[in-house]
Amino acid sequence: MMRDQKLWTWHLAAGVVILFLLGMHMTVMHLNVTVPLKGLNPAGGHPIDWANVVARGKSAFFMVTYVVLLGAALFHGLYGFRNILFELNPASWLKKAVSMVLLLCGLALFVYGTWAAIAGFSLAKAM
């Protein structure tokens, strides 16, 4: 089992990454009127309109940041969740099982999300 000294340091580092990338994501998605950023919603209208999604999807920068944000947020969130569960003082075998389940869920979601980001990028590029 990995030691908390290592995991906590990465938890903190992931938090810093999320702060910037999720901050940017939230600004694009939910502060699009109060903080309009040029070129991120080029088709006008709502940020989740398909034309805007495609416009952003063509950018390799967005594709890479989605994958980095996905990895950082999954690690940060699932480690935080594991901490909460561990603080409920479960039995040792249950801790191992929880760690394994969260690790597998995290890896599966990371693979799936990365596929979606790359496939979305390829689709947008082809349009």
């Binding site: 908390d4 000294q5 995991l7 901490n83 603080e87």
Partner: protein
């Protein structure tokens, strides 16, 4: 409430006798108020006049020994250090420190805390065992180096911080604020070289990683030790250690006695060394 208007005071005490009770229960006592009365004074009065079997721990009556930690009106405090008048004049509600098993009435089982404390090696660790066993002098330390741990050395191990810690409320494996604070006290002592030895516990899940800086330990500490500060400073050291940026200090050397110079006539001879 002012002392002048207070003539009687009601105590509501959590009672538990393992030989008689299956669960703790509350009992109320009314006693006369006297000026300057502490919560501990009231307990003594109740024992003398109402409940001779009431049990608690206390010793020094001056906030030094750390025996009388209790939950008084919802906050972990020393009974001897708490004036009845600071509690607002209403009922004084006294319960044993939470997060520790109850031995009897207001007596908590502190052994798990001391076991964890011991596991974190709260003493100076050095390679020169010979010098420690048969010292030839004092270890050299500057005033600034002393300040790095002095605050944490005032801990009286009363357990109030452990009773207030939200993590310790559920997680019995977490070391808790007192043992962690004391581990940092020795880690930050320049005479000590035990960082790596303590790290074996501290780097794992019993270490400071379960502290989320709710800060209650520091808020309730009756001696101003500020365990939360010690824990955060310790986290920095451990993160730096993981990043290979931690500076290992060589344990302080033995201070050399001055060999040159001449004593002035009006200065008497120093008493014989105690170590």
């Amino acid at each position: 409430m002012s002392e002048k208007t207070l003539s009687e005071i009601t105590y509501r005490i959590r009672r538990f006798n393992p030989e008689r009770d299956s669960t703790p229960h509350w009992e109320e006592y009314r006693i006369p108020y006297s000026a300057g009365m502490t919560v501990l004074d009231g307990l003594w009065r109740i024992k003398e006049t109402h409940a001779p079997d009431l049990a608690w721990r206390s010793s020094c009556r001056m906030g030094v020994c750390g025996s009388c930690g209790m939950l008084v009106n919802g906050k972990a405090r020393l009974a001897c250090n708490t004036q009845v008048t600071e509690l607002g004049g209403g009922t004084v509600v006294v319960a044993p420190l939470p997060n520790f098993d109850i031995v009897r009435d207001l007596v908590p089982e502190l052994a798990p805390m001391f076991d964890t404390h011991r596991a974190l090696m709260p003493y100076v660790i050095r390679d020169d065992a010979q010098e420690q066993e048969h010292p030839t002098g004092e270890f050299w330390q500057s005033a600034h180096e002393l300040e790095q741990y002095l605050q944490f050395s005032y801990c009286i191990k009363c357990g109030c911080c452990m009773a207030a810690c939200p993590t310790y409320a559920t997680d019995a494996l977490y070391s808790g604020p007192m043992p962690l604070g004391q581990a940092h006290r020795y880690n930050s002592d320049t005479r000590d070289g035990g960082f790596s030895a303590r790290k074996r516990v501290l780097a794992g899940e019993a270490g400071p990683w379960r502290c989320h800086y709710a800060g209650e330990c520091s808020r309730v500490c009756p001696k101003g030790v500020d365990p939360a500060k010690a824990i955060q400073l310790m986290k920095r050291e451990l993160v730096l250690d993981y990043l290979r940026l931690h500076k290992e200090h060589c344990p302080a050397p033995v201070a050399k006695k001055p060999t040159e110079g001449k004593r002035r006539d009006n200065i008497p001879e120093a008493p014989p060394p105690t170590v």
